[in-house]
């Protein structure tokens, strides 16, 4: 399956995510999930960013927090709501909010 997963918390238990398998896995970082893209803990980027090359973070949720798009890890594509609609319909056949 092609599965797009919305990650809305920073220190979410990643148990579920660790076990999920998909031919194509996308992670869409929203709300506090955007910290995975912008924030290094003890100098180390979030391990979530290694799970898949298909990484997205919601621009509004970056900016509302006073973070800058330049803070975002290079592996992560910054998207808006309209882009997310296209991801849902064009890139993934199932989507989940963990």
């Amino acid at each position: 399956m092609k599965l797009g997963v919305f990650v809305s918390d920073f220190k979410l238990t990643v148990d579920t995510l660790d076990r999920l398998k998909a031919e194509k896995l996308g992670l869409i970082l929203v709300q506090n999930g955007v910290y995975h893209a912008t924030t290094k803990e003890n100098g180390k980027a979030s391990s979530l960013l290694e799970k898949t090359p298909n990484l997205y973070a919601l621009s509004d949720d970056i900016q509302i927090r006073g973070l800058k798009v330049t803070d975002v890890d290079k592996r992560v594509k910054v998207v808006n709501y309209s882009d997310i609609v296209d991801l849902i319909f064009n890139d993934y056949d199932k989507v989940a909010w963990l």
Partner: protein, 136 residues
């Protein structure tokens, strides 16, 4: 699209919040959705429990006596009575030391269905086969 298969994945424990309970009641409502669909159209959820979601299933719950609410155990019996597939992740039961025979059944109410304790790969398969996955 006569039948639409769904995978309901419950990962939150029962009782603190509402989400994990609403997963069960929403699954049960598959039984009455036909009034909204064309002839021959159906929706078939599989109800799967993983992670901490397996914690709230044990037999012997006292929700009605203590809090005046329907227990998850009772909701699970209804789920079996309406013939839904219920999959519980074996690795997670093992991880938390919960024996398989602690799972509720609805034998005394005449249900044929049983809760199926399965490896996570079976739950992954349910997600693959489903048209949509819903995480609770």
């Amino acid at each position: 699209m006569a039948d639409v298969k769904l995978a309901f994945i419950v990962q939150k424990p029962q009782y603190k919040g509402e989400t994990s309970r609403l997963a069960i009641t929403h699954a049960i409502s598959y039984q009455t959705v036909e009034i909204l669909l064309e002839d021959g159209e159906t929706v078939t959820p599989k109800l799967c429990f993983i992670g901490e979601g397996v914690l709230g299933l044990q037999k012997g719950q006292n929700a009605m006596e203590l809090y005046g609410i329907t227990s998850t155990e009772s909701h699970m019996k209804n789920t079996l009575l309406v013939d839904l597939d219920v999959l519980v992740c074996k690795e997670d039961l093992d991880r938390y030391g919960i024996p398989e025979d602690a799972m509720p059944d609805a034998d005394e109410m005449g249900a044929d269905k049983k809760i199926q304790v399965v490896p996570f790969t079976e739950i992954q398969k349910a997600m693959e086969e489903a048209k949509h996955v819903l995480f609770f």
